[in-house]
Symmetry: C2
Subunit: 450 residues, 2 copies
């Protein structure tokens, strides 16, 4: 057995790392429980050794832990710069992103990523094929396996904590996508598919999987096995292409873990509500419980401009079914690059999804904040309601639109019902009457009225 490097290797060797101690406190679980989950591959702690020397505060992803949320940021060739991306990072972390992916595909990718990793307390994920393609001048056909290995090593050295690699897209499954309504919608997946078609060769990232493991193990970069053939529409959900790739991802999960690397697995995408639990169950079975990281899923395709909502529904159900991390979708999905306000709206929706999932899974303590807010609501303690709210500024602003004066912060009503129709105010009256003995037993009532 080689000297342990990764969290997985340490866990298997029976040691509890400082990172495991740290996440145990955050999760209110025992360090031994964390070690066990990591050792069995059911939990990952994405913490590049380089980023650990910086500002990273370790966190874990796995169904034994609280459901996590990822926010994607990054520029495109059409818009945004370093300053804009740092602002998005801060917005994302402020609104509770547990990890952030830098998906930049435009200018200055290296500069932007360096700044993001330096500034970030949360793990940073990337999709290395994007920067590699930039360096090849946009011609995916030019890619040689070594280009990709070099880029993974370069980004690992920079401190990237987890990487999406589309190793699971195989040549023999491409024909399964030809009759799809929306084809291949993963950027990485479509690039790899095009390379395979051009060269009539198997996926070089699949072939280089063990070499990639060796690089990632050295820095403890966590795999995020990309789902390059995920459905891009309800019409393509749960089809043969998707599940053919899932089987490959199951094989790669086991191989990656054997080689000491931590592995999580990405999932769709666009799925009607009635197929979500089946999808989560199937991934958990095929990938032996490796953390499942879903991109949504959207439960309808008919509401562009509101896909943070259409996907929040799916994400909630997925989290409830056991997904370990939910990748947010912003209102701009399918329409344009998200800006700061979109990042906020996406995160709010996904914090709601993850939290609702924790409640539905009946995680101990998950409902505490809800109950505290409900008690403040019943007590007409408006300031406490705002304080406990997911987005205090917005809650306060909405309340203050009609009743801005400080005196209304203890008023026993709001403008929704007005003073006479506040049911909670009336309940107070009722309880006072009951306390004075005015709620008599039914038998007594019947005796009176008969």
């Amino acid at each position: 057995m080689p000297t342990p490097i990764t969290q997985l290797e340490h866990a298997r060797a029976g040691s509890i790392t400082p990172e495991m101690e740290f996440v145990a406190k955050r999760e209110n679980l025992t360090p031994e429980k964390i070690r066990e989950e990591v050792a069995t591959g059911k939990m990952v702690i994405p913490a590049n050794r380089v980023h650990l020397e910086g500002k990273l505060e370790p966190m874990c992803i796995g169904s034994a832990a609280v459901c996590k949320v990822n926010a994607n940021i990054g520029n495109s060739a059409v818009t945004s710069d370093e300053e804009g991306e740092l602002e998005k990072l801060h917005t994302a972390v402020h609104y509770g992103a547990d990890t952030v992916m830098d998906l930049s595909t435009g200018n200055d990718i290296d500069t932007i990523r360096k700044s993001i990793i330096e500034a970030s307390t949360v793990p940073i994920g990337t999709v290395p094929i994007y920067q590699m393609l930039e360096e090849l001048g946009g011609e995916i056909e030019e890619m040689r396996p070594q280009h990709f290995l070099d880029m993974v090593e370069h980004q690992a050295k920079q401190g990237v904590d987890y990487m999406t690699v589309h190793c699971g897209v195989k040549y023999e499954h491409l024909h399964l996508t030809m009759d799809r309504v929306t084809g291949i919608v993963s950027r990485g997946g479509s690039l790899i598919a095009k390379w395979m078609m051009t060269h009539q060769k198997q996926n070089p990232l699949y072939d280089a999987f063990d070499d990639l493991c060796d690089i990632m193990r050295q820095y403890d970069v966590t795999w995020s096995l990309g789902d390059g053939l995920r459905p891009g529409s309800l019409a393509d959900a749960s089809d043969d292409a998707q599940f053919a790739e899932l089987d490959v991802l199951g094989e790669l999960t086991a191989r990656g873990q054997e080689r000491g690397t931590q592995v999580m697995v990405e999932g769709p995408g666009h799925i009607p509500m009635d197929q979500i639990k089946m999808n989560v169950d199937r991934q958990i079975e095929v990938c032996n419980g490796a953390p499942f990281y879903l991109l949504g899923p959207l439960v309808t395709d008919f509401a562009p401009g509101y896909d943070h909502i259409t996907s929040c529904i799916g994400a909630s159900i997925a989290g409830w079914a056991g997904a370990a991390m939910l990748c947010y979708v912003t209102p701009k999905e399918h329409l344009g690059l998200p800006e700061r306000e979109d990042v906020k709206q996406g995160l709010i929706a996904y914090k709601i999804a993850a939290h609702s999932a924790d409640i539905a899974r009946q995680r101990p303590g998950a409902r505490d904040v809800d109950d505290a807010l409900s008690r403040a609501r019943f007590a007409f303690d408006w300031n406490e309601q705002f304080r406990l709210a997911l987005d205090p500024e917005t809650a306060k602003a909405y309340h203050d639109e009609t009743l801005p004066q400080e005196t209304f912060k203890s008023a026993h009503f709001c403008s929704m019902c007005g003073p006479k129709y506040c049911s909670m105010k009336i309940t107070e009256d009722i309880r006072e009457m009951a306390a004075k003995g005015e709620l008599v037993a039914l038998s007594e009532l019947e005796a009176k009225t008969s």
Copy 2:
């Protein structure tokens, strides 16, 4: 058997009314199927005979039909007027409200309702106790049963199509609410409870149920049996008070139907995801399949300002489980009276919920618009995507933020990924290559590479 007046009575007598014909076309069901569903009480057609003489376009509510959405409008003592309420009505109908409830509790209730009924093509619902209370000067203790009967008759004459009445709140169940975190959160329910406490008598609306049926039957006003003891927080969900009232509602459903009136039943409110299906199943069983009309439910209490989203998750799951109509919640819920933009945001969220539910229930044709939009997306037909979108203006505005020029309406990319990274563009390339025979069989590939 008396001469049939209501849709229910006609259906039972075997006749297909013009209203049944009309809704059959809207639902793409046979008139006989509609008649059957109405006859068994599993579907209602809320169509007051007075409103039918006006602009009403009949619709139906029942789990055999498409899932419906209601929007609440109405002023409060604190804010809004007739013009504002008519604007909200138009906004609601524009964004797809299937019914609208006028919950006014402020000034000029009669004028506002008259205008709303005159202007409305969709059924209008009310909660008559509000206006009655206004006429009593706000003192619920003053109410006599005749006050309430008179008000129901007054509103029935005006053309109100369905009415929420809290007949199910019984004296003997009040003690079950005393230890709740948020007590009684239904306005009508709390008013009735206070009346019962003051007079130490049974609910006069329960006692007057048969008389109320006689009035409602004359105009064919549909019952919306109010859930006065619905939970107002996750902490109170699925408790004894809620289910004690549900049993009463089951009894009243049968009684109302026996007396010839159409009946639907309201439901909660605040429920964690894992209890929603159980709640819907239980209502369907207890109320013998009468249409279930849910208020949300919110699946978490921690996000005031975003309760259109927290409740949209619950509403989607409820609709999937068989709820027939979903009462929207706006972003202002718990904070203030909704304005025009809030009405829009609430409706968008609930159209998403109802549509996602129809898809998950695999209703024939439910996914057609999704598939058409996905095909337009894959074809880079941006204008067609906007046209098919739930909210075309918003979708177009988001797209145009970064790429406003008309030439980009047929561009094979958007600003999210930019031209080089558009997976759908790359898929097009792949399909062209495949069409040229460049996707060879795996065996051929293996022969080549070995």
